[in-house]
Symmetry: C2
């Protein structure tokens, strides 16, 4: 058991977005080691089909298992929406996604029972946020909106820009007309747009960041399994990608509290 506790946590995403989740884990559990995999050769997942995403998730989990991880976080809303159920049943180590914690928090903080969800096409068309939220309280009305331009805008560094504000305004106009009081940022890139989204939605709307909530849920999960790290050995962070795009390193340095030094490329299709 000792060995298992000191094993790293596996975190994966279609690319860089999941680094917001890795960053929250680093902040909330600074002792835990992390093996991060970003599927930069096959990014984005948001416009791909369920079968494809399940295949990718299986390959990545096979890879992470070779790194002896003690738990796995699917730090990608699309992959959580499409693949979590399948891979939970196929694996004997704990696997969590980013959707459950976000849905629970949204249901908890809404007062008027009107929640909005923004995400990729894949996450929205999966209908998983409305399903999870309605499982908690079927009286809650959930309105979704796919926002395919927001990831490219973030990856282009336009987090604080009038063009991004304009695009966000268009995407959320329908949500505003439904008088939502809570908005789930249902893509791991979106927390980086929090200031812009907060400005456009107004102070009365709660923004739910699944990255933050997922790190909290992970902490409880590790406690429940009795596998929280118990040694004082410094945390190790290792980053793997399926394609060595320079932008990964740049983006990681922007998001993470610690510098990202060694990113290794692997051939994910072999797993």
């Amino acid at each position: 058991m000792l060995d298992k506790s000191n094993a790293p946590i596996g975190v994966f995403d279609s690319g860089v977005g999941g680094l917001t989740v890795a960053g929250e884990i680093m902040r909330q559990m600074p002792r835990e080691s992390i093996v991060y995999f970003g599927d930069t050769a096959r990014v984005p997942y948001g416009s791909k089909s369920k079968d494809t995403i399940i295949k990718y998730a299986r390959q990545i989990i096979n890879f992470l298992k070779t790194k002896e991880v003690k738990a796995i976080v699917i730090a990608c809303n699309t992959a959580s929406a499409y693949a979590l159920d399948t891979v939970i049943n196929e694996n004997d180590l704990p696997v969590i996604g980013v959707i459950h914690a976000g849905a629970v928090q949204a249901a908890r903080v809404t007062n008027n029972k009107r929640i909005g969800v923004i995400g990729t096409k894949g996450t929205v068309s999966s209908g998983i946020y409305p399903k999870f939220i309605k499982d908690i309280d079927k009286g809650i009305e959930v309105t979704q909106k796919a926002c395919p331009l927001l990831c490219p805008l973030v990856e282009e560094g336009l987090m604080h820009d009038n063009v991004t504000d304009e695009i966000i305004s268009r995407y959320v106009s329908e949500l505003k007309s439904k008088y939502i009081d809570t908005l789930v940022l249902g893509c791991t890139h979106y927390p980086l747009l929090k200031p812009a989204i907060a400005k456009i939605m107004g102070q009365s709307v709660n923004l739910v960041d699944p990255a933050y909530e997922t790190a909290l849920e992970l902490s409880k999960l590790l406690d429940r399994y009795g596998i929280k790290k118990d040694s004082n050995i410094k945390a190790e962070y290792n980053f793997y990608v399926s394609d060595l795009a320079e932008s990964f390193q740049d983006f990681a340095s922007m998001i993470l509290p610690n510098e990202v030094k060694n990113t290794k490329k692997i051939n994910i299709e072999e797993y």
Copy 2:
């Protein structure tokens, strides 16, 4: 030889962009049959590395060969930039990319010998347009600009939109300050932005559309090999994708002169 002449032309791209090239072939050579492959599971190519793109191109060419194609068009600037040289040497059937014809036309029409090139990060960082253009006339000055947001904007249908105009204006401002008189639309999505780009660049700037030029070059190539279709059997168009995203069909219907009915999904990683 008769059989070979009546075989289809293989055309491939990372996704939907190459349909602009397929559309030009349909318009210029309406008798020719086409087998199109869109790598929708692994799109976009523009931000991926050379090694990855070469691997993808090899798999796709292996697949197209199973369809007995007589020639192959790499209808993707990034894949042409990174993989054309390699795959030409590995194959005994004619393979052309979209870059050569565009570069030749740009060098032909410029008067002041100042050419601009816009494209994906991959195409721009490959430096292939400047290389090809300077091979023709080393006195020509080429200024490049990567425009990563333009593909997502086109795929979101915002071809005629003030946000797209604003983004284009920013991307081309440096090119305008260099007084270019010719601009190469170095990504197969960009011809769909021709009206917006023409408005922003002004009437004095020639816009070079490699899709159009490539269809012309292909026609000459088929003549040279003596493999132009010589029967009057109606052209057949078959579309294959690596992921059955609905948006492929929608986008194809928007771009192509003929309706796209049957799109088949194949597992490209098996090739």
